[in-house]
């Protein structure tokens, strides 16, 4: 039954042939073959391997899918605190006298309105309105920014940003992806767990703000109150060589290591988009329901503005909706079929929700089929399984008083 094991992982579907992989009994080495496909290690790949991590190739890196149970890791983040190695993410520095106007031109949510010490989320679009990538922008200094991009897109994004910057002579770009590690500590106990190790008062760091030189266990990190789970938490950017020390300190204080499998189920419950699924070069941020990150009301041109304005004025052809279903799990690419039997759209992401204990999915459908309560079907292995359009996010944490 394991001969062809289809893996639905954070961002990409890969086919892993378990016939040879399954010949090794130890969990830690199930998929990890050194030197294959020029896949890179993160500074923590060997830690994952030595601690029961099921390693998979993702975005060009050996990453932990889980350490035994995606469901348990998911619930640990919802109830306590989980620690993710997301060092595969890419980091670019953008600096110079024209950095602000350049970035306002490059992405759809203008970074120039950030104060130093603040970050934002933004799509980055093609002239067609399709999405090159979605990223975080940190304003490090008045004329210096950090872009954080998806691992699978590092090469493409670097080309794209470099090309775009040629019209902006006062801009310097540096790709610091290889020397930068990224750890995400997420969950209701994240702050109380991190505070004793940190050199600053964490209460002073508000949502989507950061401090560039916090000492964590004596090691300098850029600490931001950001994340990709729908929980409270922090992300720590640090020198790759120092990552194992900080990682181990956080584990020793009680953080549970969490792999990419739970990262995907957590973000999906929180309806956070994943590039390659809810966003792509043929899916615009407006279609993905990210209009609040596309500043069409503000003046100033940005790449894709014309196309996105047209989409908005002419009306969207499809919208992203949440589905729940019983009788199978909807996976990315499965057809969505209306009550009359017509294929009207497709699933972008789907999984079993560990919090809700049922199958959930996101799908692109025509606006006429997008109202909450609409009855649809998802075609799963040739059979139509009833699905209902529901409000999203599927999970929203209780806010602190």
């Amino acid at each position: 039954m394991l001969a062809c094991f289809q893996l639905y992982c954070d961002g990409q579907e890969g086919i892993i042939n378990l016939e040879y992989a399954g010949t090794k009994a130890s969990r830690g080495v199930l998929y990890h073959r050194e030197g294959d496909f020029c896949v890179k290690d993160t500074p923590l790949t060997s830690w994952h391997k030595n601690h029961g991590g099921k390693l998979v190739e993702f975005g060009g890196y050996w990453m932990p899918l889980d350490y035994g149970s995606i469901v348990e890791e998911h619930l640990a983040v919802r109830q306590r605190a989980g620690l993710f190695d997301v060092s595969h993410m890419g980091e670019f520095l953008v600096e110079g006298a024209s950095a602000s106007p350049f970035l306002d031109h490059l992405v759809t949510n203008p970074p120039s309105r950030l104060t130093v010490g603040q970050a934002l989320y933004s799509p980055m679009c093609l002239p067609t309105g399709g999405t090159v990538d979605d990223l975080l922008v940190y304003r490090l200094e008045e004329q210096k920014y950090l872009l954080v991009v998806n691992a699978a897109n590092i090469g493409k994004d670097w080309e794209w940003v470099s090309q775009a910057s040629q019209h902006w002579p006062m801009v310097t770009l540096t790709n610091v992806s290889d020397r930068t590690a990224l750890l995400a500590l997420q969950g209701p106990l994240a702050q109380s767990l991190l505070q004793p190790l940190a050199s600053i008062e964490l209460d002073a760091v508000s949502y989507y703000h950061f401090v560039p030189q916090v000492l964590v266990d004596g090691i300098p990190v850029l600490l931001s109150r950001t994340g990709y789970t729908g929980e409270e938490g922090f992300e720590l950017y640090l020198d790759a060589n120092a990552a194992p020390t900080v990682w181990q300190s956080l584990i020793d204080r009680g953080a549970r290591p969490v792999g990419l499998g739970a990262r995907d189920t957590l973000r999906l419950e929180a309806r956070l988009p994943l590039y390659g699924h809810e966003l792509s070069e043929t899916i615009s941020p407006l279609e993905a329901g990210l209009g609040m990150f596309v500043r069409l009301k503000q003046p100033g041109d940005f790449i894709g503005r014309g196309a996105l304005e047209r989409q908005k004025s002419e009306g969207l052809q499809r919208k992203l909706v949440g589905l729940t279903l019983a009788g199978g799990i909807a996976r990315a690419g499965y057809p969505v079929v209306d009550a009359e039997g017509h294929t009207v759209g497709s699933v972008t992401s789907g999984t079993h929700s560990p919090t809700l204990k049922k199958a959930i999915a996101l799908a692109l459908v025509p606006p006429s089929q997008s109202a909450i309560g609409t009855s649809l079907n998802v075609e799963i292995r040739g059979k139509l399984v009833p699905a209902e359009v529901v409000a999203t996010p599927f999970y929203r944490r209780e806010t602190r008083i």
């Binding site: 039954m1 394991l2 001969a3 062809c4 094991f5 289809q6 893996l7 639905y8 992982c9 378990l18 399954g22 010949t23 090794k24 009994a25 969990r27 199930l30 099921k54 899918l65 889980d66 035994g68 149970s69 995606i70 469901v71 348990e72 499998g261 995907d264 189920t265 199978g328 799990i329 996976r331 999984t351 079993h352 560990p354 199958a359 292995r381």
Partner: protein, 122 residues
């Protein structure tokens, strides 16, 4: 790894008991991770050895189940509809998947010892 000696095995990680009960091995459930959905065949369906008869889905994977021998589906474990996690918790017991009325001998199946060698790559 738990591999009971009274069962026979396939290289695809299914087991079959002398009474025709079929499930997946401890090795398989561990490799798959948390099982969250099991698609079962209809009782009475005729199956050939090697034929896909159902699907096991974990959070991140979809895997076909292959029939260990020719036979007729005599029973299915309907408990798995509500509790698919039984496949993880008790793969050789409560987590059984179907019961076959076998039509032929199990000569092509593996002993526990041979199956263990398969999982170790010996």
């Amino acid at each position: 790894m738990n591999i009971p000696t009274h069962l026979r095995y396939t290289k695809d990680h299914e087991w079959i008991a002398p009474d025709g009960t079929v499930g997946i091995t401890a090795f398989a459930q561990d490799a798959l991770g948390d099982v969250v959905f099991v698609e079962l065949p209809e009782v009475g369906r005729e199956l050939k050895s090697g034929e896909a008869f159902g699907v096991v889905e974990s959070v991140k994977s979809v895997s076909d189940l292959y029939c260990p021998t020719d036979g007729t589906v005599a029973a299915v474990n309907t408990k798995l509809t509500e509790q698919p996690e039984l496949v993880n918790q008790d793969p050789y017991g409560e987590g059984w998947i179907i019961r076959l009325d076998p039509h032929q001998s199990d000569a092509e199946l593996l002993s526990a010892e041979d199956y263990q060698k398969e999982t170790e790559g010996a």
